[in-house]
């Protein structure tokens, strides 16, 4: 299989970047998209060129480290799939595949396709946890949680923190990411005591990091590899008002 990659190359955060074209032969349909980039990188090394820097680690759709724009879509042509789970069988012989980094001012480019998503960590840092020290827990079954509540907390908790929601949003909003964590914890009885504070602090940090505001286009939930529903944002907004009034 032969395709042409057009890949964003940028030396570092301050440098100018540009798309560069690479014709790559010898690919197979069973290769994953990232394996195709590996293959290209091996060719580049042998041609004495620098490899393309891209993010990846688990390569099974769970760590959230991978993520690039492929032909104008976050994580490529399929809905709800990470870049690492995309295979070359999704492309055709002779295709031109444009590969760019996440574009959002809160995610500065580090190099080539790699961006800095530490803003997400700082949002979590503002309350994406339950304040309880190791060693202070009561017997687990002393807290009953109905299956429905626990399932819906799990739905929200499944977020992998890849940043596709931000990258795909025309406003570069981090509302889906932030709402997912708030709802995961606030739905559970364990999360209740800090529910209001968590919501206010985490949304404040989200704004501080300069993410845009959500206008409910729904683009994020189409790309989200963890199927986080946009209803999480509605729930967060509804509770925000309550938290402001009673927080």
């Amino acid at each position: 299989m032969k395709v042409t990659f057009k890949i964003w190359r940028q030396e570092n955060t301050d440098a100018q970047g540009e798309l560069k074209a690479y014709e790559v032969d010898g690919l197979s349909e069973d290769m994953s998209f990232l394996e195709a980039l590996d293959h290209l990188n091996e060719i580049l090394v042998l041609k004495d060129e620098k490899v393309i820097a891209f993010e990846h680690d688990c390569r099974e759709g769970i760590c959230g480290q991978c993520g690039v724009f492929i032909n104008g879509r976050a994580h490529g042509p399929h809905n709800n799939t990470t870049t690492c789970q995309l295979h070359m069988r999704s492309f055709k012989e002779g295709d031109t595949i444009v590969v760019e980094p996440w574009r959002a001012s809160s995610f500065p480019i580090v190099k080539d396709l790699v961006v800095d998503r530490s803003a997400f960590d700082r949002i979590i840092q503002q309350g994406g946890y339950i304040t309880a020290k190791t060693g202070t827990a009561a017997e687990a079954n002393a807290i009953l949680v109905s299956k429905e509540v626990s399932d819906s907390a799990m739905d929200a908790a499944a977020c992998i923190g890849c940043g596709a929601c931000v990258a795909t949003c025309k406003n570069a909003s981090a509302a889906l990411f932030t709402a997912a964590k708030i709802n995961h914890l606030n739905k559970l009885p364990q999360g209740q005591p800090e529910a209001h504070r968590r919501l206010l602090d985490m949304t404040a940090q989200m704004e501080f990091e300069n993410f845009g505001s959500c206008t409910f286009t729904g683009a994020c939930e189409i790309e989200c590899p963890a199927d986080i529903s946009i209803s999480n944002i509605a729930e967060m907004n509804a509770r925000y008002v309550k938290a402001k009034l009673f927080g």
Binding site: D57, R59, C63, Q85, H87, D121, I124, A137, L144, D151
Partner: protein
């Protein structure tokens, strides 16, 4: 040096309590003066860093990914064990201890294994408190399922994402302490060497992966929590960046390496389908609860799975191990698969797989229930293979998965270098020669949350009065120079072969000779080949780019250089153990039916290797069994 495991006095069930009662305490004002470096932010590292910071220590935590949340603990699917006996099925701390010891084929310490079982129940309490959305029954209590190698239901789970949920809990606690300014988190920082001063661990040298900058960090103790090293096989269920570098460098600086060859090969991964493949995806072992494993009775059967009638299917695990059936432990299930594949019954494009079939489960339980239990795994399977497993069986194959081996540690989780600790998958502690499913999330978590924070004080108390060293100590500059020198050398080779090319070659040798079954001749050959690969690597590798920028190729090369050396030691270790035990199967030592033959007379010890200027010296920690008499490990 004589190995001292420091097992506390008293009866098995009192040892940990006795230990805690007697260990030295440090008052809060003094804790603030002590600094601890934690290398790794997986369940072990993040749990330790957060807890140590809560106790009042100053902590610096390193990981190579862009965020602590990405450590490979995140990928664990199936679950975590605890002796809660919520199912009222006769479980207890004792039974769990016994299962673990037996599962490990009596190659771990009784005292450690007992402590693992003892601390399992409080760990579930802890995670529930932290908001882990474990699966629940309709009545609101926690749900359980069973895993390989046991006959009770003691596994807790959060859908198919247990590791993710536990790691995110640990990660969020870690960031809670970052906010409290008690932890400094250093993502994209790879630790490349350990600094030892006056025989004690006093710091590390790291490389900032975003900028290339090499820097020194000093501390009063160093904790390694760097995870498993199965990427030595290249194809494995681990993440691409998983490495053995920090523990290997520690080994070269004096830490003994225990049982390096004990590697778990997981029976249910997706088969390799191309040369270019970079990793093997695991399908959770929990699938074996309801899925049935089979191969066609006829060799080289070309029919589609669904066209093969029942009578012509060989459910070989149920046939060979009637009492455990599809839930036989991993080492046994993997070897049985290899046996069938080697005998010509393998299926799939490369004839390297077996079937895992849900037809009966769907008939019995209904599609809805199967979907509820394994929906995300079926989805993942379809994404990768394009096949709908509700309609035809999955194809699975054995893959390198877990390192039982690791740095030798005593009961306090300290290595043979004072002040250097190893926790989580990177140590050799509780699993013996084979780890039971869902026992690793447990071990990594309790190492980090419960054990280390209660043992490190015993050492640090002495450090309060000891001489303080900073990063301007000559030893720091010496180690830093060595790190720079190695990088320079790598970049200067400017040869003709890529790092991946060497890694593929190494992986093939290791998979052939040092994986599911081993023999003397093969291992001896492998050692020769590995030496050759090492030579070639340093003569012909090509790494482009420079050291003072983000350079993924250089990162890979540094990791591979260490893997090559580690691979040799793994083969040496497999060679010295003239017996079969757990995952270590030496073809010379098997019964007529092909079952492993252990030799307790000569091999009831943990091998602990010392590095001595390029040579490896074997030490033996004799294992004493006071409470359980080793028996033949039968799952028939």
């Amino acid at each position: 040096m004589k190995l001292n495991a420091k097992i506390p006095e008293g009866k098995l069930e009192d040892k940990w309590k006795n230990y805690q009662a007697k260990s030295h305490l440090i008052n809060p004002a003094n804790k603030k003066k002590l600094k601890i470096i934690v290398v790794g932010s997986g369940l072990a590292g993040a749990g330790a860093a957060a807890t140590l910071a809560e106790l009042g220590y100053e902590v610096q935590c390193f990981c190579y990914q862009d965020s602590a949340r990405r450590a490979h603990s995140v990928a664990a699917q199936g679950g975590i064990n605890a002796a809660k006996n919520y199912q009222h099925d006769g479980d207890s701390v004792w039974r769990m201890f016994h299962d673990t010891l037996k599962g490990g084929d009596f190659r771990s310490r009784e005292a450690n294994t007992y402590r693992l079982a003892e601390l399992s129940a409080p760990l579930i309490d802890h995670f529930v408190q932290q908001g882990v959305p474990f699966a629940r029954e309709y009545g609101g209590v926690l749900a359980n399922r069973s895993f390989g190698g046991v006959q009770v239901q003691r596994t807790f789970y959060a859908r198919g994402q247990t590791g993710q949920q536990l790691l995110l809990a640990a990660y969020s606690q870690l960031y809670k302490m970052v906010r409290a300014k008690k932890v400094e988190m250093l993502p994209r920082h790879e630790v490349l060497d350990i600094v030892i001063i006056d025989g004690k661990a006093k710091g590390v040298i790291s490389r900032n992966l975003a900028k290339g900058e090499i820097k020194r960090f000093a501390a009063d103790a160093v904790v390694l929590a760097t995870g498993g090293y199965s990427r030595v096989f290249r194809l494995s269920t681990l993440a691409i960046g998983c490495n053995g570098s920090a523990i290997w460098k520690a080994h070269k600086r004096g830490a003994y390496f225990a049982a390096p060859s004990f590697t778990q090969i997981h029976p249910t991964a997706l088969p390799q389908t191309s040369e270019a493949q970079s990793k093997l995806t695991l399908m959770s072992e929990s699938l074996r609860n309801d899925g049935r494993i089979w191969v066609p009775k006829k060799k080289g059967d070309k029919r589609k799975a669904i066209d093969i009638p029942e009578a012509e299917r060989d459910y070989y695990l149920e046939r060979r191990y009637p009492s455990y059936g599809n839930l036989a432990p991993r080492d046994i299930a993997s070897r049985a698969a290899k046996e069938r594949i080697d005998a010509g019954h393998g299926v799939g494009q490369f004839k390297n797989a077996v079937y895992l079939d849900f037809k009966h489960a769907i008939q019995k339980l209904g599609k809805k229930v199967v979907e509820d239990r394994y929906g995300n795994l079926f989805n993942m399977y379809e994404k990768i293979t394009g096949i709908n497993a509700y309609e035809e069986p999955m194809k699975i194959s054995p893959a390198a998965h877990f390192s039982m081996g690791g740095l030798w540690v005593d009961y306090e989780l300290m290595t043979t270098i004072p002040g250097l600790y190893a926790i989580g998958e990177c140590n050799y502690s509780d699993h013996g020669a084979n780890r039971l499913g869902a026992n690793s999330l447990l071990q990594t978590s309790i190492d980090g949350y419960f054990i280390l924070p209660n043992t490190i004080n015993n050492y640090l108390e002495g450090e309060l009065k000891a001489k303080q060293y900073g990063i301007d100590h000559p030893e720091f500059s010496k180690v830093e120079d060595e790190v720079r020198e190695q990088i320079k050398k790598l970049l200067e080779v400017n040869g003709t072969r890529t790092v991946d090319d060497f890694h593929r070659e190494l992986g093939k040798v290791m998979w052939q000779e040092c994986a599911m079954s081993r023999n003397r001749k093969g291992l001896e050959n492998a050692i020769g080949e590995i030496k050759h690969i090492k030579n070639e690597f340093w003569k012909h590798v090509k790494v482009t780019g420079s050291d003072n920028e983000m350079n993924p190729e250089l990162e890979k090369a540094l990791r591979l250089a260490d893997f090559i050396e580690l691979a040799e030691l793994m083969c040496l270790d497999a060679l010295q153990r003239d017996e079969s035990c757990g995952a270590h199967f030496r073809e010379e030592y098997q019964s007529e039916e092909g079952e492993a033959m252990r030799n307790d007379e000569d091999f009831a010890y943990v091998s602990a290797w010392e590095y001595n200027a390029g040579n490896f010296v074997l030490h033996k920690e004799k294992l004493m069994f006071e409470y359980v008499q080793p028996t033949v490990r039968s799952y028939k």
